[in-house]
């Protein structure tokens, strides 16, 4: 497939490219110059710019949106909310049926869920709350949901939260977590990239609806969230369980 990746310079970008390179023809885009080595094509594209996204999507079979901006309020709405609008318009314009979106788990399971409940599933009605990051991503998801109800597009959203190097057990911030527990929505980078590959390659006819969401984290013993849908529907299996973080040292 010809695959457009938006926000390819984000933390997840290199792992997604690694999982897809050699299997698909990739056009990696970002607002900044590419920061990692790849044989894939690259183009500078602002995900928040409708014209640029529509132009970049020409000739594509799928779009993967990895873009995110968390802090600046204007940019957060530009990228996290309208970036998805731009992706949806590009898909309808060019007849692209396969859209993959990514976001943090709390765009669905905000504090109202996370502070109170367990076994949280990706099929719950979203309750992001009013924090900027969660709400702007949730609005972007709502746009995709509405578009999938009115156009022949298939949206799959993969929710992530904390990423780990499974060897060093370090987070992107450099924090090493050994025997001190972790956020029960954590995953190794490699497993995250693999989940996206599975979603990209799934036969669309196997999807229960035109808008599906998955909780994507490794198998964890907390029973806080459920990743069963990603495992069952995508046939995805995590290889790294990050047990050093959630087992006691002594």
């Amino acid at each position: 497939m010809n695959v457009l990746i938006l926000g390819g310079n984000g933390m997840l970008g290199p792992w997604v490219v690694q999982a897809l390179e050699g299997r698909h023809r990739l056009l990696v885009t970002d607002i900044s110059e590419l920061k990692f080595e790849t044989g894939a094509a690259y183009r500078k594209v602002d995900a928040g710019n409708l014209r640029q996204v529509v132009d970049a999507a020409q000739g594509m079979d799928a779009i993967i949106n990895l873009s995110v901006l968390r802090q600046d309020r204007q940019l957060a709405f530009d990228v996290s909310t309208r970036g998805n609008y731009n992706m949806a318009v590009a898909a309808v314009t060019h007849g692209i049926r396969r859209l993959l979106n990514t976001g943090p788990h709390f765009q669905l399971a905000g504090p109202n869920y996370e502070d109170h409940d367990y076994d949280l599933s990706p099929d719950m009605p979203p309750q992001p709350g009013s924090r900027l990051y969660a709400l702007t991503k949730a609005l972007g998801q709502e746009i995709l949901q509405v578009y999938s109800e009115h156009h022949d597009i298939y949206v799959q959203t993969l929710l992530f939260y904390n990423f780990y190097d499974p060897v060093t057990m370090k987070t992107p911030g450099g924090e090493r977590r050994i025997g001190v527990d972790l956020t029960p929505f954590s995953i190794a980078w490699q497993d995250a990239g693999e989940a996206i590959r599975r979603a990209l390659e799934i036969e669309l006819g196997r999807l229960p609806s035109r808008c599906e969401t998955y909780n994507v984290f490794t198998d964890l013993p907390h029973h806080k969230f459920s990743n069963a849908k990603a495992r069952q529907l995508l046939g995805w299996q995590p290889r790294h369980f990050l047990e050093a973080a959630w087992t006691r040292r002594e």
Partner: protein, 231 residues
Amino acid sequence: MKLLVTSATSELGRTISEGLSKDHTLTLTDLPLGGRAPRGIKPHSLGHDGETDSLVRGMDAIVHVGFGGHQAEATPLLDYLTRCTYNLLTACLNTGVKRFVYLHTLRVFDGYEPHLTVTERWKPLPTTEPAVLAAHLGEYVCREFAREHPQLEVISLRLGYPIVPGTRSAATRTKQPAALCSADLVLALGRALDARVPKRWNPVHIQSPVPNARFLMSGAESLIGFPKKAA
């Protein structure tokens, strides 16, 4: 009450401003569009700096026009009704303003067959038409703020269509089953500003009581006493 009304230069904004001005003290605002602002309008970008806090401070309530106010292409419209709604609600939290009335549209229920008893309990089904989608997202922002912040009282008035100038007879003359006359709009809005609401999040369906009316008004009746006229 001291009220801030957004999109005040729009036709809908002017209608509600004229209707509310007898009983309330209004601050009218709209986006700066270049050139001189119309008389009585305070141009404001509703950004996320302290200026929106200053605009909102001291108000008793905000009337924020979602559908039918700001006219623009999809990109600026989506930006305005998501980001600026977020900024206004944040300013309300920062300055202690409790009551926030969002003006939305019943067009988000166009996807239901006309024979169905659509009430506030039914899920909105917005289309991808930018004005409808943007207004729906604006309401989404309102709902999430209300969900999380007990100090807010948010009312989303989902308004009938078309909105026609005049009284109920004007609405009847349109022969449109969801029509809303301006007199009823002002009446419902006035009641929404005054009503004691039991919840933080209160969607309310508002249309004129025309023959064969499309929407049931039981929710509006119990929450804000509409469409019965005041004694």
